[in-house]
Symmetry: C2
Subunit: 186 residues, 2 copies
């Protein structure tokens, strides 16, 4: 009896730090998800609420720039909103992983969704970046003019909103690697 109780004690000692590491990873996962949700929400709001009306107008045309003039910026707002919604929903599973460390199948599910969402947020950020680049620099070969000389505030705002999206891209990459490490330790 004494021998077996020592064995149990040793087995628990072996499992405890391992479980502690997984729990630590799960808590970090939870915090990073909140940060990423805030970043994408900020990016979507900054882009969606920007508009600039120039102080002059012809009889028929009012010079006004809004994000929905450019399809890539609409995709940016939609992509960031969807990813933000997903991140908020995924917090439920993240809390479940803090409480129940040995869960593996739900972690695999989360990695699969995270990977798809990494693709979506990267695509949104990248599509908007290439348009913002053209807006700033124009393109002489294609005869596309830089619109940022007129719409200065609009351009500053849409350039700034990209940052939130790129922060989310970096956080998603870390999230996926953390989840894989947690799965490998189970």
């Amino acid at each position: 009896m004494k021998g077996s109780s020592i064995e149990v004690g040793e087995a628990m000692k072996g499992a405890s730090p391992r479980k502690g590491v997984i729990r630590g990873l799960s808590i970090m996962d939870f915090v990073l998800r909140i940060l990423a949700a805030v970043a994408t929400l900020g990016a979507a709001l900054a882009m969606a609420t920007t508009n600039e009306t120039l102080p002059f107008a012809t009889q028929f045309i009012k010079f006004r720039a809004q994000f929905d003039d450019l399809p890539s910026l609409v995709f940016f707002v939609m992509g960031n909103s969807v990813v933000c919604g997903y991140l908020v929903l995924s917090l439920v599973l993240s809390i479940f992983h803090i409480v129940r460390s040995p869960a593996v199948k739900s972690r695999i599910l989360l990695v699969a969704f995270d990977t798809v969402m990494l693709g979506l947020i990267t695509a949104a950020a990248s599509a908007a970046t290439s348009i913002v680049y053209i807006a700033h620099n124009g393109n002489t070969g294609a005869n596309w003019f830089a619109i940022c000389q007129q719409y200065n505030n609009f351009c500053e705002r849409i350039s700034g909103s990209l940052i939130g999206s790129y922060i989310a891209v970096a956080l998603f990459t870390i999230l996926i690697i953390l989840s894989v490490v947690a799965i490998s330790r189970n």
Copy 2:
């Protein structure tokens, strides 16, 4: 003695199909990597080799369209080339995983690199897509004209080359999920 040998036999029976599943996943990983490498190579070549010269010219200007007129398309070619190179190099680790199924640390390393490369290839594909969209449709708000009315062959070629990149995006997503399943089974 007899009892213990039966136990060993059962343990091996339990390990064998599991090892078989992991080996199957590793072989699928190897095949998908080759497919993705071919897709990115095709995309990079199709984009890089396209150029169209219009059949008329002024005294000073020759109307010629090439991928390096547009920075996003240059990024597309570079991104696809880098990812293609990475995929060829990663075949070494993939073969190692077929031979040595229980390797976990090298699988985690591969997932980490795959995730970064998924980000790169998605960014390249998406940046090019938003430019190709403008080239096809133009944008009235920003006064950017559709250049595809003049450069018809050029536009068809750059649109087609996007497909290879998107195939690679899908394959990378599958690769990451396969690796995670293999890690969870070890």
